[in-house]
Symmetry: C2
Subunit: 159 residues, 2 copies
Amino acid sequence: MTALEVACRNSDLPLTIQRRVILQALADRDDHPTADQILRQVRKRLPEVSRTTVYRVLDTLVDLGLAVKICSPGKGARFDPRTDRHHHLVCLQCEKVMDFEAPKLNGLPLPDTRTRAFDILDYSIHFRGLCADCKGQSRNAQARRARRSPTKKSTGRAG
Amino acid sequence: MTALEVACRNSDLPLTIQRRVILQALADRDDHPTADQILRQVRKRLPEVSRTTVYRVLDTLVDLGLAVKICSPGKGARFDPRTDRHHHLVCLQCEKVMDFEAPKLNGLPLPDTRTRAFDILDYSIHFRGLCADCKGQSRNAQARRARRSPTKKSTGRAG
DNA sequence: CTGCCTGCAAACGATTTGCACCAGC
DNA sequence: GCTGGTGCAAATCGTTTGCAGGCAG
Protein backbone atom coordinates (compact mmCIF):
# COMPACT_ATOMS: atom_id res chain seq x y z
CA MET A 1 0.00 0.00 0.00
CA THR A 2 3.10 2.16 0.11
CA ALA A 3 2.89 2.51 -3.65
CA LEU A 4 -0.18 4.65 -3.20
CA GLU A 5 1.51 6.90 -0.68
CA VAL A 6 4.48 7.39 -2.96
CA ALA A 7 2.32 8.04 -5.98
CA CYS A 8 0.12 10.52 -4.16
CA ARG A 9 3.11 12.37 -2.82
CA ASN A 10 4.71 12.46 -6.25
CA SER A 11 1.61 13.95 -7.73
CA ASP A 12 0.71 16.22 -4.86
CA LEU A 13 -2.49 14.36 -4.25
CA PRO A 14 -4.01 14.04 -0.79
CA LEU A 15 -3.99 10.49 0.50
CA THR A 16 -7.60 9.93 1.43
CA ILE A 17 -9.20 7.00 3.16
CA GLN A 18 -11.28 6.38 0.07
CA ARG A 19 -8.24 6.11 -2.14
CA ARG A 20 -6.64 3.67 0.24
CA VAL A 21 -9.66 1.46 0.58
CA ILE A 22 -10.59 1.51 -3.08
CA LEU A 23 -7.10 0.57 -4.18
CA GLN A 24 -7.05 -2.16 -1.59
CA ALA A 25 -10.40 -3.48 -2.80
CA LEU A 26 -9.14 -3.55 -6.34
CA ALA A 27 -5.86 -5.16 -5.39
CA ASP A 28 -7.73 -7.91 -3.56
CA ARG A 29 -9.35 -9.18 -6.73
CA ASP A 30 -8.12 -10.68 -9.93
CA ASP A 31 -11.40 -10.76 -11.81
CA HIS A 32 -11.21 -7.30 -13.36
CA PRO A 33 -14.14 -5.84 -11.48
CA THR A 34 -16.38 -3.06 -12.68
CA ALA A 35 -16.71 0.15 -10.74
CA ASP A 36 -19.90 -1.16 -9.22
CA GLN A 37 -18.33 -4.36 -8.02
CA ILE A 38 -15.63 -2.32 -6.35
CA LEU A 39 -18.26 -0.09 -4.83
CA ARG A 40 -19.98 -3.02 -3.19
CA GLN A 41 -16.72 -4.32 -1.78
CA VAL A 42 -15.59 -0.91 -0.57
CA ARG A 43 -18.83 -0.32 1.26
CA LYS A 44 -18.06 -3.19 3.58
CA ARG A 45 -15.33 -1.02 5.03
CA LEU A 46 -16.68 2.43 4.19
CA PRO A 47 -20.46 2.21 4.08
CA GLU A 48 -20.67 5.92 3.36
CA VAL A 49 -18.70 5.86 0.16
CA SER A 50 -20.52 7.08 -2.90
CA ARG A 51 -20.58 5.54 -6.31
CA THR A 52 -19.25 8.76 -7.77
CA THR A 53 -16.16 8.58 -5.62
CA VAL A 54 -15.43 5.07 -6.72
CA TYR A 55 -15.57 6.13 -10.33
CA ARG A 56 -13.37 9.14 -9.68
CA VAL A 57 -10.83 7.31 -7.59
CA LEU A 58 -10.53 4.43 -10.01
CA ASP A 59 -9.80 7.00 -12.66
CA THR A 60 -7.18 8.57 -10.46
CA LEU A 61 -5.55 5.22 -9.77
CA VAL A 62 -5.22 4.69 -13.50
CA ASP A 63 -3.62 8.12 -13.80
CA LEU A 64 -1.19 7.22 -11.08
CA GLY A 65 -0.24 4.03 -12.83
CA LEU A 66 -1.51 1.90 -9.98
CA ALA A 67 -4.21 0.27 -12.05
CA VAL A 68 -5.16 -0.24 -15.65
CA LYS A 69 -8.46 0.15 -17.37
CA ILE A 70 -8.67 -2.97 -19.47
CA CYS A 71 -10.11 -3.49 -22.90
CA SER A 72 -13.24 -5.56 -22.67
CA PRO A 73 -16.15 -6.36 -24.95
CA GLY A 74 -18.80 -5.54 -22.36
CA LYS A 75 -20.30 -2.22 -21.52
CA GLY A 76 -19.05 -1.49 -18.05
CA ALA A 77 -15.46 -0.31 -17.64
CA ARG A 78 -13.26 -2.82 -15.90
CA PHE A 79 -10.12 -2.33 -13.92
CA ASP A 80 -7.05 -4.43 -13.39
CA PRO A 81 -4.77 -3.97 -10.40
CA ARG A 82 -1.93 -5.58 -12.34
CA THR A 83 0.20 -3.20 -14.31
CA ASP A 84 2.84 -5.70 -15.35
CA ARG A 85 2.73 -7.50 -18.65
CA HIS A 86 0.22 -10.29 -18.74
CA HIS A 87 -2.46 -11.63 -20.99
CA HIS A 88 -6.16 -12.32 -20.95
CA LEU A 89 -8.65 -15.01 -21.74
CA VAL A 90 -11.82 -13.39 -23.01
CA CYS A 91 -14.99 -15.43 -23.14
CA LEU A 92 -16.97 -14.57 -26.24
CA GLN A 93 -20.19 -15.62 -24.64
CA CYS A 94 -20.28 -14.29 -21.09
CA GLU A 95 -17.59 -11.65 -21.68
CA LYS A 96 -15.64 -12.70 -18.64
CA VAL A 97 -11.98 -11.65 -18.69
CA MET A 98 -9.43 -13.79 -16.90
CA ASP A 99 -5.76 -13.20 -16.33
CA PHE A 100 -3.57 -15.60 -18.19
CA GLU A 101 0.12 -16.14 -17.65
CA ALA A 102 2.16 -17.03 -20.69
CA PRO A 103 5.78 -16.15 -19.96
CA LYS A 104 6.77 -17.37 -23.39
CA LEU A 105 4.63 -14.64 -24.90
CA ASN A 106 5.96 -11.84 -22.75
CA GLY A 107 9.00 -11.16 -24.87
CA LEU A 108 7.53 -10.56 -28.29
CA PRO A 109 9.47 -7.99 -30.28
CA LEU A 110 7.55 -4.74 -30.36
CA PRO A 111 6.75 -4.19 -34.01
CA ASP A 112 7.96 -1.15 -35.82
CA THR A 113 5.16 1.38 -35.88
CA ARG A 114 7.15 4.33 -37.05
CA THR A 115 5.14 4.46 -40.24
CA ARG A 116 2.03 4.71 -38.10
CA ALA A 117 3.60 7.24 -35.78
CA PHE A 118 2.36 5.22 -32.85
CA ASP A 119 4.41 4.82 -29.69
CA ILE A 120 3.96 1.32 -28.34
CA LEU A 121 4.45 1.21 -24.59
CA ASP A 122 3.28 -2.31 -23.88
CA TYR A 123 1.07 -5.02 -25.20
CA SER A 124 -1.25 -7.71 -24.08
CA ILE A 125 -2.71 -10.65 -25.91
CA HIS A 126 -6.42 -11.32 -25.86
CA PHE A 127 -7.18 -14.98 -26.31
CA ARG A 128 -10.78 -15.18 -27.36
CA GLY A 129 -12.82 -18.28 -26.84
CA LEU A 130 -15.21 -19.98 -24.51
CA CYS A 131 -14.75 -20.32 -20.79
CA ALA A 132 -15.49 -23.48 -18.85
CA ASP A 133 -18.98 -22.33 -17.91
CA CYS A 134 -19.99 -21.41 -21.44
CA LYS A 135 -18.30 -24.03 -23.55
CA GLY A 136 -20.56 -26.81 -22.37
CA GLN A 137 -23.63 -24.92 -23.41
CA SER A 138 -23.55 -23.78 -26.98
CA ARG A 139 -21.92 -21.42 -29.37
CA ASN A 140 -22.71 -17.76 -29.45
CA ALA A 141 -24.90 -17.79 -32.51
CA GLN A 142 -26.72 -20.93 -31.62
CA ALA A 143 -27.65 -19.58 -28.25
CA ARG A 144 -29.14 -16.45 -29.72
CA ARG A 145 -30.84 -18.29 -32.48
CA ALA A 146 -32.44 -20.62 -30.02
CA ARG A 147 -33.60 -17.72 -27.94
CA ARG A 148 -35.32 -16.18 -30.94
CA SER A 149 -37.18 -19.23 -32.21
CA PRO A 150 -37.33 -21.77 -29.44
CA THR A 151 -39.75 -24.10 -31.18
CA LYS A 152 -38.04 -24.24 -34.52
CA LYS A 153 -35.41 -26.93 -34.79
CA SER A 154 -32.50 -25.29 -36.56
CA THR A 155 -31.22 -27.47 -39.34
CA GLY A 156 -27.53 -27.10 -39.61
CA ARG A 157 -24.23 -25.87 -38.36
CA ALA A 158 -24.29 -28.19 -35.43
CA GLY A 159 -20.50 -28.58 -35.61
CA MET B 1 -21.98 -8.34 -50.15
CA THR B 2 -22.81 -11.90 -51.07
CA ALA B 3 -21.53 -13.01 -47.73
CA LEU B 4 -24.56 -11.46 -46.11
CA GLU B 5 -26.95 -13.19 -48.47
CA VAL B 6 -25.33 -16.52 -47.82
CA ALA B 7 -25.29 -16.01 -44.10
CA CYS B 8 -28.90 -14.93 -43.97
CA ARG B 9 -30.00 -17.87 -46.06
CA ASN B 10 -28.01 -20.26 -43.88
CA SER B 11 -29.65 -18.96 -40.79
CA ASP B 12 -33.14 -18.47 -42.19
CA LEU B 13 -32.96 -14.75 -41.69
CA PRO B 14 -34.73 -12.30 -43.98
CA LEU B 15 -32.35 -10.18 -45.98
CA THR B 16 -33.54 -6.69 -45.18
CA ILE B 17 -32.44 -3.40 -46.61
CA GLN B 18 -31.28 -2.33 -43.21
CA ARG B 19 -29.03 -5.34 -42.84
CA ARG B 20 -27.50 -4.68 -46.21
CA VAL B 21 -26.85 -1.03 -45.61
CA ILE B 22 -25.61 -1.43 -42.06
CA LEU B 23 -23.16 -4.13 -43.02
CA GLN B 24 -22.00 -2.00 -45.94
CA ALA B 25 -21.54 1.00 -43.66
CA LEU B 26 -19.49 -1.07 -41.28
CA ALA B 27 -17.44 -2.62 -44.05
CA ASP B 28 -16.62 0.82 -45.41
CA ARG B 29 -14.73 1.79 -42.30
CA ASP B 30 -11.64 0.55 -40.58
CA ASP B 31 -11.88 2.70 -37.47
CA HIS B 32 -14.00 0.35 -35.38
CA PRO B 33 -17.04 2.56 -35.18
CA THR B 34 -19.59 2.61 -32.38
CA ALA B 35 -23.22 1.85 -33.05
CA ASP B 36 -23.90 5.56 -33.12
CA GLN B 37 -21.25 6.26 -35.72
CA ILE B 38 -22.74 3.56 -37.87
CA LEU B 39 -26.16 5.05 -37.36
CA ARG B 40 -25.06 8.41 -38.67
CA GLN B 41 -23.48 6.86 -41.71
CA VAL B 42 -26.43 4.61 -42.43
CA ARG B 43 -28.85 7.52 -42.27
CA LYS B 44 -27.22 9.04 -45.32
CA ARG B 45 -28.75 6.18 -47.29
CA LEU B 46 -31.67 5.29 -45.08
CA PRO B 47 -32.75 8.42 -43.22
CA GLU B 48 -35.57 6.50 -41.58
CA VAL B 49 -33.43 3.95 -39.85
CA SER B 50 -33.73 3.86 -36.10
CA ARG B 51 -30.97 3.65 -33.57
CA THR B 52 -32.56 0.51 -32.19
CA THR B 53 -32.28 -1.24 -35.50
CA VAL B 54 -28.62 -0.41 -35.79
CA TYR B 55 -27.97 -1.94 -32.41
CA ARG B 56 -29.98 -4.99 -33.26
CA VAL B 57 -28.51 -5.51 -36.68
CA LEU B 58 -24.95 -5.05 -35.50
CA ASP B 59 -25.66 -7.73 -32.96
CA THR B 60 -27.02 -9.96 -35.65
CA LEU B 61 -24.00 -9.41 -37.85
CA VAL B 62 -21.80 -10.54 -35.00
CA ASP B 63 -23.95 -13.64 -34.64
CA LEU B 64 -23.59 -14.33 -38.32
CA GLY B 65 -19.84 -14.06 -38.10
CA LEU B 66 -19.76 -11.09 -40.44
CA ALA B 67 -18.42 -8.71 -37.81
CA VAL B 68 -16.74 -8.79 -34.45
CA LYS B 69 -17.42 -6.82 -31.33
CA ILE B 70 -13.99 -5.70 -30.28
CA CYS B 71 -12.51 -5.20 -26.85
CA SER B 72 -11.96 -1.55 -26.17
CA PRO B 73 -11.28 0.58 -23.14
CA GLY B 74 -14.05 3.08 -23.87
CA LYS B 75 -17.67 2.84 -22.95
CA GLY B 76 -19.45 2.38 -26.24
CA ALA B 77 -19.34 -1.02 -27.92
CA ARG B 78 -17.28 -1.02 -31.09
CA PHE B 79 -17.48 -3.21 -34.12
CA ASP B 80 -14.94 -4.48 -36.57
CA PRO B 81 -15.85 -5.70 -40.04
CA ARG B 82 -12.72 -7.79 -40.15
CA THR B 83 -13.06 -11.30 -38.84
CA ASP B 84 -9.63 -12.54 -39.83
CA ARG B 85 -6.72 -12.52 -37.44
CA HIS B 86 -5.21 -9.11 -36.98
CA HIS B 87 -4.01 -6.88 -34.21
CA HIS B 88 -4.75 -3.49 -32.74
CA LEU B 89 -3.02 -0.33 -31.69
CA VAL B 90 -4.88 1.12 -28.73
CA CYS B 91 -4.23 4.70 -27.74
CA LEU B 92 -4.19 5.02 -23.97
CA GLN B 93 -5.17 8.65 -24.16
CA CYS B 94 -7.91 9.04 -26.76
CA GLU B 95 -8.88 5.36 -26.75
CA LYS B 96 -8.75 5.14 -30.50
CA VAL B 97 -8.31 1.59 -31.84
CA MET B 98 -6.48 1.06 -35.11
CA ASP B 99 -5.95 -2.08 -37.09
CA PHE B 100 -2.39 -3.23 -37.18
CA GLU B 101 -0.93 -5.83 -39.46
CA ALA B 102 1.87 -7.93 -38.07
CA PRO B 103 2.04 -11.13 -40.10
CA LYS B 104 4.92 -12.32 -37.97
CA LEU B 105 2.64 -12.32 -34.97
CA ASN B 106 -0.18 -14.19 -36.63
CA GLY B 107 1.24 -17.62 -36.02
CA LEU B 108 1.81 -17.68 -32.30
CA PRO B 109 1.26 -21.09 -30.77
CA LEU B 110 -2.02 -21.16 -28.93
CA PRO B 111 -1.07 -21.79 -25.33
CA ASP B 112 -2.35 -24.80 -23.49
CA THR B 113 -5.34 -23.77 -21.45
CA ARG B 114 -6.55 -27.19 -20.53
CA THR B 115 -5.88 -26.48 -16.89
CA ARG B 116 -8.11 -23.46 -17.20
CA ALA B 117 -10.73 -25.34 -19.17
CA PHE B 118 -10.85 -22.52 -21.65
CA ASP B 119 -11.25 -23.12 -25.39
CA ILE B 120 -9.15 -20.64 -27.31
CA LEU B 121 -10.60 -19.95 -30.73
CA ASP B 122 -8.44 -17.04 -31.80
CA TYR B 123 -6.33 -14.25 -30.41
CA SER B 124 -5.43 -10.68 -31.06
CA ILE B 125 -2.68 -8.53 -29.66
CA HIS B 126 -3.43 -5.14 -28.19
CA PHE B 127 -0.46 -2.83 -28.50
CA ARG B 128 -1.06 -0.07 -26.02
CA GLY B 129 0.55 3.28 -26.40
CA LEU B 130 0.08 6.75 -27.75
CA CYS B 131 -1.20 7.60 -31.19
CA ALA B 132 0.26 10.30 -33.38
CA ASP B 133 -2.29 12.87 -32.27
CA CYS B 134 -1.79 12.25 -28.58
CA LYS B 135 1.89 11.58 -28.31
CA GLY B 136 2.84 15.14 -29.08
CA GLN B 137 0.71 16.41 -26.28
CA SER B 138 1.47 14.73 -23.01
CA ARG B 139 1.18 11.56 -21.10
CA ASN B 140 -2.06 10.33 -19.73
CA ALA B 141 -1.53 11.39 -16.18
CA GLN B 142 -0.02 14.72 -17.06
CA ALA B 143 -2.94 15.61 -19.24
CA ARG B 144 -5.42 14.96 -16.49
CA ARG B 145 -3.29 16.61 -13.87
CA ALA B 146 -3.06 19.70 -16.04
CA ARG B 147 -6.78 19.72 -16.52
CA ARG B 148 -7.27 19.69 -12.77
CA SER B 149 -4.80 22.40 -11.88
CA PRO B 150 -4.05 24.36 -15.03
CA THR B 151 -1.86 26.95 -13.33
CA LYS B 152 0.38 24.60 -11.47
CA LYS B 153 3.46 23.49 -13.38
CA SER B 154 3.89 19.80 -12.69
CA THR B 155 7.42 18.95 -11.72
CA GLY B 156 8.55 15.74 -13.16
CA ARG B 157 8.06 12.36 -14.69
CA ALA B 158 8.63 13.70 -18.16
CA GLY B 159 10.22 10.38 -19.19
C1' DC C 1 -50.33 -14.39 -46.38
C1' DT C 2 -47.18 -15.08 -42.12
C1' DG C 3 -43.66 -14.10 -39.21
C1' DC C 4 -39.78 -11.71 -38.26
C1' DC C 5 -37.87 -7.12 -38.53
C1' DT C 6 -38.28 -2.46 -37.89
C1' DG C 7 -39.42 2.09 -35.68
C1' DC C 8 -40.89 4.50 -31.79
C1' DA C 9 -40.62 5.79 -27.11
C1' DA C 10 -39.90 4.64 -22.67
C1' DA C 11 -37.14 1.97 -19.52
C1' DC C 12 -32.66 0.94 -17.98
C1' DG C 13 -27.86 0.84 -16.49
C1' DA C 14 -23.41 2.98 -16.45
C1' DT C 15 -21.00 7.21 -15.98
C1' DT C 16 -20.48 12.32 -15.40
C1' DT C 17 -21.39 16.87 -13.56
C1' DG C 18 -22.45 20.92 -10.21
C1' DC C 19 -22.50 22.24 -5.80
C1' DA C 20 -21.95 22.38 -0.61
C1' DC C 21 -19.38 20.34 2.97
C1' DC C 22 -15.53 17.92 5.08
C1' DA C 23 -10.80 16.14 5.47
C1' DG C 24 -5.84 16.08 4.44
C1' DC C 25 -1.81 18.78 4.44
C1' DG D 1 -7.09 27.68 7.03
C1' DC D 2 -6.82 26.53 2.28
C1' DT D 3 -7.35 23.25 -1.35
C1' DG D 4 -9.44 19.92 -3.41
C1' DG D 5 -11.77 15.39 -2.51
C1' DT D 6 -16.13 13.62 -1.41
C1' DG D 7 -21.26 12.80 -1.35
C1' DC D 8 -25.58 13.69 -3.25
C1' DA D 9 -28.80 14.03 -6.91
C1' DA D 10 -29.74 15.21 -11.39
C1' DA D 11 -28.15 15.09 -16.03
C1' DT D 12 -26.22 12.46 -19.69
C1' DC D 13 -24.93 8.78 -22.67
C1' DG D 14 -25.21 4.11 -24.39
C1' DT D 15 -28.20 0.25 -24.80
C1' DT D 16 -32.42 -2.62 -24.30
C1' DT D 17 -37.35 -3.67 -24.31
C1' DG D 18 -42.53 -3.85 -25.60
C1' DC D 19 -45.61 -3.10 -28.95
C1' DA D 20 -47.89 -2.08 -33.71
C1' DG D 21 -47.26 -2.06 -38.49
C1' DG D 22 -44.31 -3.19 -42.82
C1' DC D 23 -41.63 -6.10 -45.71
C1' DA D 24 -39.11 -10.43 -47.18
C1' DG D 25 -39.97 -15.08 -48.35
